[in-house]
């Protein structure tokens, strides 16, 4: 049950009558009775909320930062018209609009309402309840009730770094050439034999094959393919830290509290995965803090990126210290062949000393390890602070951190790891470049 403003208005107007009434007490009691009677009549004749039937339709997937429409069909099997307000409740971060909608469903008919979600956060958003307030014929009181109409929308990572993909792909094409190369070099593998045509490099003639056949045959080469890339995402506490400015809120005012390292790492991972799958490599994905949060084994190449995006969507940073030993064990158990392990984590001296560095040799012995980390632009900004004592102390603290990171980077490199340490905006292209460089060098 709910009242409308009219009940209060009647009572307030009644106060004028009470002011002039000879028996004010009876006037007050009479007005109470009147309002009560009107409310009772309204409640009696309002359309029932309980028998309403609901159905949903619409999108189930949306990229973060884009709107998505979810339809709600309201069917009124009752005998009375249902007129009033409807609220399709979603969690606040789903950004549902409008919050309230007018509803007018005659008996036996159905109406379609559209709620537009503009999610502000990655992950699964579940519809909570649908609440209907059905106002009676006098407009004084309303029946109210809620229905559970489940629907979920998965908010995918925005993959903002896809703008870098064309440039990186053209670099890749440059690397492998649109045509198989005739020159053998680093990062190439044997492709096929074909007949010699005038102009081919005579050094590429395969004499043994030529001897077997009547024609002269040359070997062709192509960049190595079918390598494995295993992207490991650290979802421990360091991934929760916010860095840079949120790319989604840039248009509307200041960047707020920034974007978690996890999201920047995902962005970089997606670019790398897109690039690697185009380059013919197989991409696996592992998210890990103390336990395995997500695992995706790269299946067919065509849909691996969408599958990856889907797997990433619900991952959140957990406020626990990552367990590097168990992570390494998980990687070793899943990757039997040599592969490129891209470890997206934070170069945090304290955490690395205890966690990753002792177990890194185990991993580096069997795989090529690339550690990628998001650097905080705020630290660089603080390191440049000069002028007042406060700023210089801050600069000293920032330099201290940068020194630690540099030492850590050097130690990792000594272990044979590649390290990419870049600011949020540069991480994705830097990681892609590192991958291309490794591919060009034939180190995969």
């Amino acid at each position: 049950m709910a009242l409308t403003g009219r009940a209060g208005l009647i009572a307030a107007l009644g106060a004028v009558g009470v002011l002039f009434a000879p028996r004010p007490l009876y006037a007050v009691l009479g007005l109470l009775l009147l309002v009560g009677a009107l409310v009772a009549v309204d409640l009696l004749f309002a359309g029932g909320v309980r028998p309403l039937r609901f159905r949903r339709a619409g999108e189930r997937l949306v990229r973060l930062g884009e709107p998505v429409a979810v339809e709600l069909v309201v069917e009124n099997p009752g005998r009375r018209r249902v007129r009033g307000t409807l609220r399709d409740a979603w969690p606040p971060s789903a950004g549902a609009a409008p919050r309230h909608q007018r509803l007018d469903v005659p008996a036996g008919e159905r109406r379609r309402l559209v709620t537009t979600l503009t999610p502000t956060r990655r992950g699964d958003r579940e519809a909570v309840t649908v609440t209907v307030r059905s106002v009676g014929p006098l407009g004084v009181a309303a029946r109210q009730g809620s229905h559970s109409v489940p629907w979920s929308v998965r908010v995918l990572p925005p993959f903002l770094s896809r703008k870098h993909l064309p440039a990186k792909l053209s670099k890749l094409r440059e690397l492998e050439g649109q045509h198989p190369a005739l020159v053998r070099g680093q990062g190439t593998e044997f492709d096929s034999l074909r007949e010699y045509v005038v102009g081919d490099d005579v050094r590429s003639i395969d004499w043994r094959a030529t001897a077997r056949r009547a024609d002269v045959v040359v070997r062709t080469w192509r960049p190595e393919r079918d390598r494995r890339v295993l992207i490991v995402l650290d979802t421990g506490r360091t991934a929760a830290g916010r860095v840079g400015t949120s790319p989604l809120s840039r248009a509307s005012g200041p960047g707020g509290a920034g974007w978690p390292r996890l999201d920047w790492s995902m962005d970089a991972a997606l670019l790398l995965a897109a690039l690697a799958s185009r380059a013919g490599d197989r991409v696996d994905f592992l998210a890990h803090d103390r336990v395995v949060r997500a695992w995706m084994s790269g299946g067919s190449r065509t849909d691996s990126l969408s599958a990856l995006v889907n797997v990433m969507a619900p991952i959140e940073a957990e406020l626990v210290e990552a367990d590097s030993a168990s992570m390494v064990a998980a990687v070793l158990a899943r990757a039997r062949r040599r592969c490129l392990v891209v470890l997206l984590t934070d170069l945090n001296a304290a955490a690395m000393d205890e966690g990753l560095l002792p177990v890194l040799p185990q991993l580096a012995a069997r795989h090529l390890v690339l550690v990628a980390s998001v650097a905080d632009p705020r630290v660089a900004e603080m390191a440049a602070g000069r002028g007042t004592a406060e700023l210089v102390y801050d600069a000293a603290a920032a330099e201290h951190l940068r020194g630690e990171r540099a030492r850590l980077t050097a130690r990792l490199r000594r272990h044979g790891c590649e390290v990419v340490d870049a600011t949020p905006d540069d991480l994705a292209p830097a990681l892609a470049d590192a991958y291309l460089a490794l591919k060009a060098a034939g180190r995969l």
Partner: protein, 396 residues
């Protein structure tokens, strides 16, 4: 044909131009204000209707000989005066006692307002007593008479030998009924007993269950007037004791307090407004569906640890650590630029820097490896010097 149609269509497109005026029109002003106007009209209508339905709002003083409203008794007092009865309207027991005498009759239209002490004082008077209901404290003022029950006020027959009642005939009476003690006469009986009782042991005491027949409104009906005149005009002097008037000083008299000037209906109207407020509160307070809870991610800036460390340096005035961090960072940036190995000795670095920048090697040495600055200003200066060296090494 086309030449003919073209001029026809041209003005049509012209008139279809969009209206661009943004100033309010009469219609838009009305639409904006009609809500307030409707509420204002409703308030006035409700007020006027209430006033019309209920008549004047001034409430009469019941059975007051000076009151000309429907519930007053000015008519009866005037008639008695014309008949030569001296009607004395008093409001205090003291005044009543002053007029006391054997030829007087005391009319008390409301014993409820009398205190028991006042009642006892009145009981000692020599005057006859005419008590009009509602009555309490009868044991003092009318010994031997007791209230028995309550009946409706309507026209009743006297059915007794009391001359005043018998001559008057039927009258509009009822209210309380009594049991008269020994020697008492009861008139206007109902099933529950008489509504008029007279006892004559001591001064004549007449008790009436209800005084409605004496009001201005009822006096012309039935035998009311006769009964009232017979009862009240029995003695030459009628002491009419009415409850003391509540002090109602007129506005502007200077004695009026704010509470006196507030009409009686205002507190009730305020109560009604409170009811309205509660209804509005319920209207606004009722949520459309439950509160939606959501597990929110932590919002912590990654740079907070660095900022915290900077603040710790500042709080402890840790110039040594700050200077060491700044110097180490500068050296780490300078070494590759100067073409030195990472494990170069301080002497080599100072020498190479001085050579590249053209600065005094001793000054360069004191900046890069010198003592810890003695104050914050020294630290700021050191940071500046390191910047200078780096810049000069970058662009000699």
């Amino acid at each position: 044909m086309a030449a003919v149609t073209a001029p026809e269509t041209a003005p049509a497109t012209e008139t279809r131009a969009e209206a661009t005026s943004t100033s309010p029109t009469a219609g838009s002003i009305w639409r904006g204000a009609r809500g307030g106007v409707v509420i204002g009209v409703l308030v006035v209508v409700v007020a006027v209707l209430t006033a019309l339905v209920t008549g004047t709002s001034t409430e009469g003083r019941r059975l007051d000989p000076a009151d000309a409203t429907l519930s007053g008794s000015k008519a009866l007092a005037e008639i008695l005066r014309q008949r030569g009865v001296r009607v004395e309207r008093v409001t205090t027991v003291d005044d009543a006692l002053r007029l006391d005498g054997p030829g007087a009759q005391l009319l008390v239209p409301n014993t409820v307002t009398l205190s028991s002490a006042d009642a006892a004082r009145l009981a000692r008077t020599r005057a006859d007593r005419l008590l009009v209901g509602p009555v309490i404290g009868l044991t003092t003022l009318a010994p031997g008479v007791a209230v028995r029950s309550q009946v409706a006020v309507r026209s009743r027959e006297p059915a007794c030998d009391l001359p005043a009642a018998a001559r008057a005939g039927s009258a509009h009476i009822g209210g309380a009924t009594f049991t008269a003690g020994a020697g008492g006469v009861g008139c206007y009986p109902s099933d529950e007993g008489p509504s008029l009782v007279r006892t004559t042991s001591g001064p004549t005491v007449t008790v009436l269950g209800n005084g409605a027949f004496m009001t201005n409104q009822r006096l012309p009906e039935d035998g009311n007037a006769a009964l009232a005149i017979n009862l009240a005009g029995a003695r030459p002097v009628l002491i009419w004791l009415v409850p003391p008037e509540r002090e109602r000083p007129a506005p502007g008299s200077g004695r009026a307090s704010a509470a006196d000037l507030i009409p009686a209906g205002v507190p009730w109207a305020v109560a009604q407004l409170v009811v309205a407020l509660l209804l509005v509160a319920f209207w606004r307070g009722r949520r459309l569906g439950p509160v939606v809870v959501e597990r929110l991610p932590v919002v912590v800036r990654a740079a907070e640890t660095v900022e915290g460390r900077g603040r710790l340096y500042r709080a402890r005035r840790a110039r040594d650590r700050a200077a060491a961090a700044l110097r180490a960072a500068s050296v780490a940036r300078l070494t590759p630029r100067l073409g030195l190995a990472a494990d170069a000795t301080p002497q080599e670095i100072v020498a190479a820097t001085a050579l590249r920048t053209g600065q005094d090697p001793r000054w360069v040495g004191s900046v890069m490896y010198g003592p810890v600055p003695s104050d914050d200003a020294g630290l700021v200066a050191l940071a500046g010097h390191l910047d200078t060296l780096e810049r000069q090494a970058r662009e000699p």
